[in-house]
């Protein structure tokens, strides 16, 4: 066996390899066409070793973390990739997460190589992927209504687009030029990534880079193991609910038990609700991402995100449940909403293991707003998608931040000036939702209020959560205020409340306003919270009583 890399070389290679993923992201964003890519940065880029294990993931969108490796594995298993080929996929039942997230995978070959020396992949959220309504976040009951489903197939061969695949894709999605532009950008990012890897291999040698790819995973595995070793022995449980699935089902339970076994961890979702009719189902890729994210947060910011992190974690999620759904259930909101609730539940369980170290719940929703239709001013179809941030949960050190993207997403907003230049929409108000954070020694962060007016007939799809009950507080802190959404018809000055999961046809002049939840508060407002051992018991009791209430509700 070759000697281990020195600490300096390990650090240098870690940054070089993560740098490849970062650089791919820079290219994808710059070359992207839709505001969803160029302004909101709703994409991820990653680098893989020849076996398909993830080596580096640029710090883009956490919900893509655990799922991208499954896409690459599916592409490797189900296709044969030669030099210059690119495989496209989005099928949640073959390596994808939800249909709008379109993943491209390319092998990296050296000039004289017969086997790939690495893989690169990027995943971009396309603002439309067909289906029942523009924005492809429709309230449906099976995958086929949600949009165009793509198993791993060739998008490019020998460096050129495969016409059949491309035309089929474009014919089944809305806003052709935008789709084409974003796909072009995804291809450009893969080429940039492949070129950088070839550079590295030329500069430092193939074996050295290959070794670094493996050691970077080992390094992450060691850091995670060290974190697990610090946890007390035992089992910690928590549960929470999703408001509803948009198709009649309410109080959908997410339940987790975390067990430490030496330097290994088992995360068991036994007891979670069966898969639901509405589009709130998460497949295993999404659930894995949530687990990945929570571990990355708790283990410290210095753990490079790669497959090494997960080698010591065993996830048990019952087949056919809302956290590991089966074909043909609808999944659009599993990725964006259920993933947030899984994080809430996992953090709550960890709060019992690490009392006084875990923050209260953040807003717990991405508040997805999709708007689309025919734009009479520009004489073209449009499809716009955004997620709206909320309040961050307060923690042991400080109050929660206001008006921010939390946990499983970190997309930027589309500047009002850009949004209005592209779409028949006008933003009327964009403000902090004052006093929506939970009370406490440290207050939860405040949510956001955002009001958009339709200038043309527009199909609205809203998919949001935490509208029935606000995000939980911890250590005696209060709940954040639940979200609330309203619609004001043109000519009326009365705003009517609308369901959090709804599809509505807006007429010109109609306005829709979303108000997102505040974060939970942390600590008793009187300042009596302490981390003394005595309090741990109180905390556990509190936990149990919450669980009881939830059962009653369910």
């Amino acid at each position: 066996m070759r000697p281990r890399l020195s600490p300096v070389d390990l650090e240098l290679f870690a940054n070089r390899l993560i740098g490849v993923a970062d650089e791919m992201g820079v290219v994808l964003q710059a070359a992207g066409f839709s505001p969803n890519i160029k302004e909101r940065r709703d994409f991820s880029c990653a680098l893989f070793d020849p076996r398909g294990a993830m080596v580096a993931h640029a710090a883009h969108i956490p919900v893509h973390l655990g799922s991208t490796p499954l896409s690459v594995r599916a592409a490797i298993q189900q296709t044969r990739m030669e030099d210059g080929d690119i495989v496209i996929l989005n099928d949640p039942y073959a390596g994808g997460t939800h249909l709008p997230d379109v993943t491209l995978v390319a092998p990296v070959f050296l000039t004289d190589g017969r086997k790939p020396v690495a893989f690169v992949a990027d995943r971009a959220h396309h603002a439309d992927i067909g289906g029942a309504s523009p924005g492809s976040m429709a309230l449906t009951t099976d995958i086929h209504q949600e949009g165009f489903r793509i198993p791993p197939v060739h998008l490019c061969r020998n460096g050129a687009f495969v016409r059949d695949t491309l035309e089929l894709f474009l014919a089944n999605t809305r806003v052709r030029e935008e789709r084409l532009g974003d796909l072009d950008a995804q291809v450009a990012a893969l080429k940039a990534g492949a070129a950088r890897i070839r550079d590295l291999m030329t500069r430092f040698g193939v074996t050295a880079v290959a070794q670094a790819m493996q050691e970077l995973q080992d390094y992450s595995a060691r850091l995670v193991a060290a974190f697990f070793a610090e946890l007390p022995a035992g089992e910690w449980k928590a549960q929470d609910v999703l408001d509803d699935d948009g198709a009649g089902g309410t109080d959908i339970i997410i339940k987790a038990a975390i067990r430490r076994k030496g330097t290994r961890l088992e995360v068991d979702f036994d007891g979670s609700s069966p898969q639901v009719r509405g589009p709130l189902n998460a497949n295993l890729a999404v659930t894995t991402s949530a687990v990945f994210y929570v571990i990355a947060c708790l283990a410290g910011r210095r753990v490079p995100a790669n497959s090494g992190m997960m080698t010591r974690v065993k996830i048990r999620a019952p087949q056919g449940s809302v956290v590991n759904c089966k074909y043909p259930s609808a999944v659009a909101g599993g990725n964006v909403e259920t993933s947030q609730r899984i994080v809430d539940v996992l953090l709550r369980a960890f709060a019992t293991a690490l009392p006084g170290k875990v923050p209260a719940a953040s807003c717990g929703t991405m508040t997805n707003v999709a708007l689309g239709g025919f734009d009479p001013f520009r004489q073209r179809y449009f499809s716009y998608y955004e997620t709206v941030g909320g309040g961050a949960g307060a923690g042991p050190d400080r109050a929660g931040a206001n008006a921010m993207q939390t946990h499983m997403t970190n997309t930027w907003n589309t500047p009002v000036e850009t949004l209005e230049a592209y779409y028949p929409l006008r933003v009327r108000r964009y403000a902090v939702r004052r006093a929506s954070g939970g009370e406490g020694l440290h207050r939860g962060g405040d949510g956001i209020e955002r009001e958009i007016e339709a200038l043309a007939e527009t199909q609205l799809t809203l998919l949001a959560e935490r509208r029935d009950r606000g995000p939980y507080g911890l250590e005696g802190g209060g709940e954040g205020k639940a979200g609330c959404d309203r619609c004001t018809r043109a000519g009326s000055d009365r705003a009517m409340q609308i369901p959090a999961k709804v599809s509505l046809l807006l007429q010109p002049g109609d306005r829709v306003e979303v108000a997102t939840p505040g974060g939970g508060g942390w600590g008793n407002a009187l300042g009596t919270t302490s981390h003394a051992a005595g309090n741990r018991t109180r905390h556990k009791n509190e936990e149990r009583s919450v669980v009881k209430t939830k059962r009653k509700r369910a």
């Binding site: 300096v8 650090e11 883009h60 709206v388 907003n413 850009t418 209005e420 964009y430």
Partner: protein, 671 residues
């Protein structure tokens, strides 16, 4: 006024948190002085220095690098500012881009906005993206908002309305209406013609916030110093006239650091070095930049987490300097900085401070020598430093003052190392292929330690390292940027040159107003273009074959190009550069003296090195001629700085007088 002639006095000033550095050229003569800064009124130190240097003579030209703007922003000690913005969007400044800075931080923090919610006022008006007006700004509304602004008691006003970059009429109208309040007004479209309301609003707010302080300061300095002409260094490495700087101080936010990088590039270029990392360590902070031939620029930078949309050199700053205070944090770890003792009270060894700083640690270890500090002009109270260090030693459980001092240095060098990695390794550049150019008053004391940790192949310490920023400021050229928004699809070359003509002559006029001869002004025009519908533009020079260049640049950056796709030229960016006539003088000390290869030991001093006391020779920098070689350990003393040569290092003086430090071959440090 006539432009500065060869026999005139030309001065460069760099005001830092701790020291004010002045360098000058008087005909063929060069000189310098270093004084303690006077943070309550930074002009006082400058005036004192000028009086010492020139008595009754007045400099013809003074170029000024100042931290007044940056400090006001970082310390949130600016004007009571009111923001006027489109009603419904008062919180844009607080929401920002909604993203959190660190993906895996469970308790994310965002910096407080410079203007609190209570002073962000909405005005009823609405402009649209196509320059049309949806809601006219009425006379009544103008009066109402003027009254509301007045009641908020502003010392400065920022105005940022939606879509003002495509139609500025409402901003201009508010500018006129609010003028009667008699406080400075910043209009966002004039300062930063960037699309994107948040970044523009942040830039305008920061400008307004620091403006009263900066403009008063500059005006007073001009009056009291009686200089013929005053210019200010900008963040982009060029200078501007005092009046422009007072109006748009946000352009000077990184003026001192930009002067340092400019100076370091000059020094490195002269001895044929391209790839360097600049390390500028002052009293309160350290600036690092990676340079490959020229200084990298950025169009948006962040100061204290807030975006500023004005051009600047790409510099990374950490709160670690000579005055950084060492303390124990809640978790029991030894922290150094970002709090600084500054100039007042200053480090303990300056005679007034009571808290241990990095400078005190160097004094206690013997690396800083009391008799030679600032050429003996300033006394160093080592006993006072030792007393505070003993106190710290007790708290952290160190056995001696020296042990505690050594701990401080390890921590502060770790902080700097992290900053260097951020600008090199994290961007795919290997610092081991770079030369570290260390300057600023304190860098010479830490250069060897850093070279060891990071693995630089060599360290270069220029002559007068403590004054290099001031030298860079003195050498700065008058630079003006202009942006001409265009938004034309596949425009002809003729159209582009026509559209560039107006702004180009405006820039020429403005630079000429700085007393620069027309033939010494050069204006270059770049165009910023993208494929129609794309997000970011690529910048290429305006030439007849610009389309072909665009395709090539796109291919290089994004590995694709589409000759048939329409190209949109978003804007023209013009940069005018004007150079004063200057005498051809050797800026560095010429090595006229015969080559004396054996250095003259001036003294033997006691230095605490790696756990023990050693007798270490000291040398005077000005006694070392080109070709001189000496072995570590050694202390090399000069007027503005002290260099510590580790036992594992050798030092050689190159032909330009720079000190070049290398790890000694037979001793091998960490790689």
């Amino acid at each position: 006024m006539a432009p500065p002639r060869h026999n005139q006095i030309v001065v460069g000033v760099d005001t830092g948190g701790t020291f004010t550095d002045i360098v000058y050229r008087d005909g063929g003569i060069r000189g310098r002085i270093k004084l303690l800064s006077t943070p309550d009124d930074p002009a006082r130190a400058v005036l004192e220095g000028l009086a010492k240097l020139f008595a009754d003579r007045r400099p013809d030209l003074l170029t000024y690098g100042t931290t007044v703007a940056t400090n006001a922003m970082l310390e949130r000690r600016g004007a009571r500012t009111v923001l006027v913005t489109t009603a419904g969007f008062e919180d844009v400044l607080e929401i920002g881009r909604q993203a959190r800075p660190d993906l895996y931080d469970l308790e994310p923090i965002r910096p407080e906005p410079l203007i609190p919610a209570s002073r962000r006022l909405g005005v009823a008006e609405r402009m649209l993206f196509d320059a049309s007006v949806e809601t006219v700004l009425s006379d009544d509304e103008c009066r109402r908002i003027t009254q509301a602004v007045k009641e908020a008691g502003p010392e400065a006003i920022a105005v940022c309305l939606l879509h003002s970059t495509v139609n500025a009429s409402h901003e201009l109208r508010l500018g006129r209406a609010l003028k009667d309040l008699g406080v400075p007004i910043t209009l966002s479209h004039a300062l930063s013609p960037l699309a994107g309301e948040y970044e523009r609003c942040s830039t305008a707010s920061a400008n307004a916030f620091v403006q009263p302080k900066v403009s008063t300061h500059i005006r007073r300095l001009a009056q009291r110093s009686g200089v013929g002409r005053l210019r200010v260094m900008q963040s982009n490495g060029g200078t501007i006239g005092a009046e422009t700087a007072g109006r748009e101080p946000v352009r000077t936010m990184l003026s001192g650091p930009a002067g340092g990088v400019t100076g370091a590039i000059e020094v490195a270029t002269r001895v044929g070095l391209r790839r360097i990392v600049t390390l500028d360590m002052g009293g309160t902070s350290t600036d690092v930049a990676f340079v490959d031939g020229k200084a990298p620029r950025r169009s948006v930078t962040e100061i204290g987490g807030l975006p500023l949309g004005v051009p600047c050199i790409d510099i990374h700053t950490v709160g670690a300097g000579g005055g950084s205070i060492a303390s124990i944090d809640a978790g029991g770890a030894l922290r150094v900085g970002p709090e600084s003792a500054g100039a007042d009270p200053g480090p303990a060894c300056y005679g007034r401070g009571d808290l241990p700083t990095v400078t005190d640690a160097n004094a206690v270890l013997g690396r800083l020598q009391p008799r030679h500090f600032l050429g003996g002009e300033m006394a160093l109270d080592v006993e006072r430093a030792r007393a505070v260090m003993k106190k710290l030693a007790r708290v952290i459980g160190a056995t001696s003052a020296e042990q505690a001092a050594a701990g401080i240095l390890r921590v502060v060098e770790g902080n700097m190392e992290r900053a260097i990695r951020a600008i090199t390794v994290q961007r795919g550049e290997d610092p081991r292929s770079c030369v570290l150019v260390a300057f600023g008053g304190a860098a010479g004391l830490h250069a060897c330690g850093l070279a060891d940790e990071v693995g630089f192949r060599e360290v270069l310490i220029p002559i007068d390292p403590g004054l290099l920023s001031a030298q860079g400021v003195l050498d700065g050229r008058v630079t003006m940027d202009g942006i001409q928004p265009l938004r034309a699809v596949d425009p002809s070359f003729d159209l582009l040159t026509r559209r560039a003509r107006g702004p180009a002559s405006a820039i020429r006029r403005e630079i000429a107003r700085e007393g620069i001869a027309e033939r010494r002004i050069r204006v270059t025009t770049m165009l910023r273009a993208r494929y129609l519908g794309q997000s970011l533009e690529i910048e290429i020079p305006l030439t007849r074959s610009w389309r072909r260049h665009f395709g090539a640049a796109h291919e290089k950056l994004y590995h694709s190009h589409a000759p048939a796709r329409p190209v949109e030229v978003v804007s023209l960016r013009l940069t005018g550069c004007g150079e004063d006539a200057r005498p051809i003088v050797q800026l560095l000390q010429p090595s006229q003296a015969p080559r004396i290869r054996r250095p003259v030991v001036e003294d033997q001093v006691d230095v605490f090195v790696k756990g023990r006391h050693m007798a270490v020779p000291t040398y005077r920098r000005d006694s070392l001629r080109a070709g001189t070689r000496l072995r570590g350990p050694a202390v090399i003393i000069e007027y503005s700085s002290t260099t510590w040569v580790d036992p594992d290092f050798d030092a050689v003086v190159d032909e330009a007088g720079n000190l070049r430090l290398h790890r000694a071959r037979n001793k091998g440090g960490r790689s």
